[in-house]
C-alpha cells in the first residue's frame, strides 16, 4: 500500500473521533438552543411549551439517538439542518468557505513574501544592527494580538484617511474582484503580518543552521557567489521548517480567524462557528468543526508530500 492510501485510510477514523468529541463537547456546555433564543424569557415557558420547542430544535431525543441520526445522515452527505439559517449545514458552510480560503491564501502570500526575505536578510546579517532590528520587529509582530492590529488599522484608516472598506456586505471575488480585494486586504495584512513574524524567526534560525553546514562551505570554496549560495544552495534546505510552520498556520487559518473576522465583519468560517456556538445551533457547530478538521487533515497531508518534493532524501512511508 502506498503512503498516500495509508494516510487517506486514517481520515475516517480521525473524523469519527472528532465527531464524537464535538458532539459531546457542545452538549456539555450549559444552555441550549431554547435559552440561546429566549434568554431569561425562557423561564416563562410552560413545560408543554418547552417540549414543543425542544422538538422543534431536534433536542428532544436522547443523546445517543441524536448522535446516531447525525452520523447516519453524514454517510448520506447530510450534515443536518441549521436551526439559525433554516438551511442545510453543508450549504451554509460552503457559502462561507471561499472567503476563509481566500483570506488564508492572501495572508500566507503576505507572510511568505515578507517573512522569508526578512529571515534570510537577518541570517546573513547575523548579530548586526539590521539583524537586531528585524528580530525586534518580528518579536513585536508575534506578540501583538491580532485585535490590536485590526483595531489600529481601522482607526488609522477611518480617522486619518476618512476611509473604510464596506463592512458587513461582503462581495465575493467573482462578483467584483476590486471590491473584494478592498475588503480583504486589511484583514489579510492583519493576519499576514503576525504570520510573517513567525516565518521570519523560523527562516532566520533555520538559515543560520544551514549556512554553517559543510556543503555550503564547499559551495563557497568552489567559488559560488554569495548570492547564489544563499538562494540556490542554502535556502531550499532552510525552507523545510518554514513549510511545516506555514502548513500548520494555514490549517489554523482555514478554521477561520475568529477575531479578525469579527472586527472586520467578514462572514467566514470562524464567525460561523462562533455564532453557532453562541446560538447553540448544534448541527451547525458539529458540521463546521468536522469540516475544519477535514481541512486540517488535507493541509497536513499536502505539507508532508511537499517535504518529499523539496528534499529527495525524505522517503515517505519507508521510515
Amino acid at each position: 500500500m502506498n503512503y498516500l492510501t495509508q494516510r487517506l485510510l486514517t481520515f475516517p477514523l480521525i473524523l469519527l473521533g472528532v465527531s464524537v468529541l464535538v458532539f459531546v463537547a457542545i452538549r456539555m456546555v450549559p444552555g441550549d438552543a431554547i435559552t440561546a433564543m429566549l434568554g431569561t424569557e425562557a423561564g416563562l415557558l410552560t413545560p408543554a411549551q418547552r417540549s414543543a420547542l425542544a422538538e422543534y430544535f431536534g433536542i428532544d431525543q436522547p443523546v445517543h439517538i441524536q448522535y446516531w441520526r447525525w452520523l447516519t445522515g453524514l454517510f448520506e452527505g447530510n450534515f443536518g439542518i441549521s436551526s439559525t439559517y433554516g438551511r442545510p449545514v453543508l450549504e451554509v458552510i460552503l457559502e462561507r468557505f471561499p472567503l476563509t480560503l481566500e483570506l488564508a491564501l492572501l495572508s500566507m502570500v503576505i507572510a511568505i513574501a515578507v517573512g522569508i526575505p526578512a529571515g534570510v536578510f537577518a541570517a546573513t546579517h547575523n548579530e548586526r544592527t539590521s539583524d537586531l532590528a528585524v528580530r525586534l520587529f518580528a518579536m513585536i509582530g508575534q506578540s501583538t494580538p491580532s485585535f490590536v492590529f485590526a483595531l489600529l488599522i481601522i482607526y488609522v484608516l477611518s480617522v486619518f484617511f476618512g476611509y473604510l472598506p464596506a463592512m458587513g456586505t461582503f462581495t465575493p471575488l467573482w462578483v467584483d474582484p476590486l471590491a473584494n480585494l478592498s475588503q480583504l486586504i486589511f484583514p489579510a495584512i492583519t493576519l499576514g503580518l503576525a504570520f510573517a513574524a513567525s516565518v521570519t524567526r523560523i527562516s532566520r534560525s533555520s538559515m543560520l543552521d544551514v549556512l554553517s553546514d559543510d556543503y555550503v562551505r564547499t559551495a563557497r570554496s568552489k567559488g559560488a557567489s554569495g548570492r547564489s549560495v544563499i538562494w540556490h544552495h542554502a535556502l531550499p534546505n532552510a525552507v523545510i521548517p518554514v513549510v511545516t510552520l506555514s502548513g500548520v498556520e494555514f490549517g489554523y487559518l482555514l478554521g477561520g480567524a475568529v477575531i479578525v473576522e469579527e472586527i472586520f465583519a467578514l462572514p467566514g468560517i470562524g464567525r460561523l462557528v462562533l455564532d453557532a456556538i453562541n446560538q447553540r445551533d448544534y448541527a451547525l457547530v458539529q458540521g463546521t468543526v468536522l469540516f475544519i478538521a477535514l481541512n486540517f487533515l488535507i493541509v497536513n497531508l499536502i505539507v508532508d508530500l511537499t517535504y518529499a518534493a523539496l528534499d529527495p532524501r525524505i522517503r515517505l512511508g519507508n521510515k
Binding site: G31, A42, T46, Q49, F121, G168, R271
Partner: protein, 506 residues
C-alpha cells in the same frame, strides 16, 4: 534590501488605498438607509422571538394591534380604536379598514383571532403567552371588529398587546405553518433577504396603511465589533447604527458629522440577591447591602455617567423619586449597624455571577459593588460567565447574587408579576414571596383607573425597596447613532426603531 522591502510594503499599501478609493467612488444608493448593528436577529417568528435585535427587526415588518409612541402612550397600529367594557371583561378593537399585508390582502378580524390563538397555543412555544392568559375567547362579529373576552379584568393587557410579540400575522400563514420561516406582515417594510449574522435587506412596503415611507429600503449589516461600527459611521459607510456599549456611544459626539440619540431605557441594572440562601434570607443583611451600596457612584464609574439611579419602576408614569426609597442615600454607618444585628455579624463571602458583555458594563458594575460591599465585611467573588451559561444559572436560581440587566415594561404588572406574585413564572429565580407585594401587584392588575394604579404601584415600589430582595441600581441609556444627513428619527425608551419609517436622507 531592507529599504526595498519597506518600499514594497508602502507600495502595497498605496495600491490598497487606491483600490479602496475606487470602491468609495461608486455612488451609494441615496434612498436606501445603510444601517449596522452588532447583534443580529435570531429568528423571524414575531410571536417567539425575544432577543432585542429580533424585536427591532420584526417591528419594521409586522404590526401589533396597537403600539407605543415614544412617550409610551398606546396609539393605533392595525387597530384604529379600542374600548374596554364597563366591567373590564371585554376589550373590543376596531381594525383599520386600510390595513393590509404586504401582499395586498386586507388584515381582518380572522387574522387577529388566528394570531392570538397561535400565541396562546402551548405548541407554539411563545414566551409572551404568559401575558395573555386572561383571554378566554375571541369573537369576530365582522371583518373589522375583534372582541376579546377576558376571564378577569386585566388593565395591563392593552400595553402587553403593544409589542411585536403580539403581532398580527395572516390567518393563512398560521394555517400553513409558515410563520416561522416566511415573513408576511402589515408593517412599513418587507424582508427581501436575511443572511443570518451577516446582513438583512428590507424594502419599503408599498401597501403599508401607515403612509408613505420616504426611503426605498434598509440594509442592515452585522458588524460584531462596535468600534468598527463607529469607524464605519465616521467614514460615511453607514448612515445609522444601533449601539449598546456606552464606552463607544460616548465617543460619537466627538465626530462633527455624527449625531448620538440617547434615551433612558426601561431596562434596569440590578444586584439580585438570592433570599433562598443564607444569610441573604435575613432581611437585615439585605437591607445592610442596600444601605452600603452607593448607587450614584456605580452610575458615575461603571456606567461612565450613562444612566440614572432608579427604584424598581423605570417607566416615568409610575416611577417614584428614588430619594424617597429605603436607603437610597448610601449610609455605611447604618449598614454596619444592620449587619451587626443580623445573622452574619462578622460578614460573609458570596459569589456574584455576571454575564460577559451583557450588558457591556456588567464586569465593572460587579467590581464597584465588590469594593463597596467590602466596607461592611461582605466579600464578593465575581464569576464572569458566557451569556448562555449565565442564563442557565440564572433561570435555575443558582447564584448567591447576580449582576443583571432585566428588561423593563411600560407597565409595572407584566414587568414584575413574573418575579413577585406567588405563582409568577420566575418565582424560582427571585425566591421571594411577600403577601403585601403580591396583593399590590394583583390590585394593580385589575384596577383600571390610572391615578389609583399610580398609588398602588408607589406602595409596591416602596415596599419592594424596603424588603430589598434585590438591590435596584440604575437605568441605562439606549443608543442609536446616525449621520447628520439622516432626518426624522425619533428614539423611544422601548428601543423600537419603528420611527425609521419616517426617516429621510439628505
Amino acid at each position: 534590501m531592507h529599504l526595498t522591502h519597506t518600499k514594497r510594503l508602502l507600495a502595497g499599501l498605496a495600491v490598497a488605498t487606491a483600490l479602496g478609493s475606487v470602491a468609495l467612488a461608486v455612488p451609494a444608493q441615496a434612498a436606501d438607509l445603510r444601517m449596522a448593528w452588532a447583534q443580529d436577529a435570531t429568528g423571524l417568528d414575531p410571536h417567539k422571538q425575544t432577543a432585542f435585535s429580533s424585536l427591532r427587526l420584526l417591528e419594521l415588518i409586522y404590526e401589533p394591534l396597537v403600539r407605543l409612541n415614544p412617550s409610551l402612550e398606546v396609539v393605533p397600529a392595525v387597530a384604529e380604536s379600542w374600548e374596554f367594557s364597563e366591567d373590564g371583561l371585554t376589550l373590543t378593537f376596531k381594525l383599520d379598514p386600510e390595513a393590509q399585508f404586504s401582499d395586498g390582502t386586507p388584515v381582518t378580524s380572522e387574522d387577529v383571532k388566528a394570531s392570538f390563538t397561535r400565541l396562546l397555543d402551548e405548541a407554539t412555544g411563545a414566551a409572551a403567552r404568559s401575558n395573555f392568559l386572561s383571554i378566554e375567547s375571541i369573537d369576530t362579529p365582522d371583518a373589522t371588529t375583534a372582541v376579546f373576552n377576558l376571564s378577569q379584568p386585566d388593565a395591563p393587557i392593552l400595553v402587553a398587546m403593544a409589542t411585536i410579540n403580539a403581532a398580527i400575522v395572516p390567518a393563512s400563514a398560521v394555517a400553513a405553518g409558515t410563520v416561522e420561516t416566511t415573513t408576511l406582515g402589515s408593517g412599513p417594510f418587507t424582508l427581501e433577504n436575511w443572511d443570518p449574522n451577516s446582513r438583512v435587506v428590507l424594502s419599503t412596503n408599498e401597501n403599508w396603511a401607515g403612509g408613505d415611507v420616504p426611503i426605498d429600503g434598509i440594509t442592515i449589516a452585522v458588524l460584531p465589533d462596535e468600534a468598527a461600527i463607529l469607524a464605519s459611521l465616521r467614514a460615511g459607510q453607514i448612515d445609522f447604527a444601533l449601539l449598546n456599549d456606552p464606552l463607544v456611544a460616548t465617543l460619537v459626539p466627538n465626530e462633527p458629522n455624527l449625531q448620538l440619540n440617547r434615551v433612558p431605557g426601561l431596562a434596569y441594572n440590578v444586584l439580585q440577591l438570592q433570599p433562598a440562601r443564607p444569610p441573604m434570607d435575613d432581611l437585615k443583611v439585605r437591607q445592610a447591602i442596600s444601605c452600603a451600596v452607593n448607587r450614584q457612584e456605580i452610575v458615575d464609574t461603571a456606567l461612565i455617567g450613562e444612566g440614572e439611579v432608579t427604584g424598581p419602576l423605570t417607566m416615568p408614569v409610575y416611577a417614584s423619586d428614588p430619594s424617597t426609597l429605603f436607603c437610597y442615600e448610601q449610609d455605611v454607618a447604618k449598614a454596619k449597624e444592620l449587619m451587626a444585628e443580623s445573622s452574619a455579624p462578622d460578614g460573609f463571602t458570596a459569589k456574584v455571577i455576571a454575564a460577559t458583555g451583557e450588558p457591556p458594563v456588567a464586569a465593572s458594575e460587579a467590581q464597584v459593588l465588590q469594593a463597596q460591599l467590602a466596607e461592611i465585611g461582605i466579600e464578593l467573588e465575581i464569576e464572569m460567565l458566557e451569556l448562555n451559561v449565565y442564563v442557565d444559572r440564572w433561570l435555575a436560581g443558582d447564584f448567591d447574587m447576580a449582576v443583571a440587566q432585566n428588561g423593563g415594561r411600560p407597565d409595572p404588572y407584566p414587568m414584575y408579576n413574573r418575579y413577585f406574585t406567588k405563582d409568577g413564572n420566575l418565582q424560582n429565580v427571585s425566591n421571594f414571596v411577600d403577601e403585601e407585594v403580591h396583593e399590590l401587584l394583583e390590585q394593580g392588575r385589575v384596577e383600571t383607573d390610572v391615578e389609583k394604579r399610580k398609588e398602588i404601584f408607589q406602595k409596591f415600589e416602596a415596599r419592594l425597596a424596603e424588603l430589598s430582595p434585590w438591590i435596584w441600581l440604575s437605568t441605562s441609556n439606549t443608543y442609536t447613532a446616525q449621520l447628520k444627513t439622516v432626518q426624522g428619527f425619533e428614539p423611544s425608551p422601548t428601543g423600537t426603531l419603528f420611527s425609521l419609517s419616517n426617516v429621510s436622507i439628505d
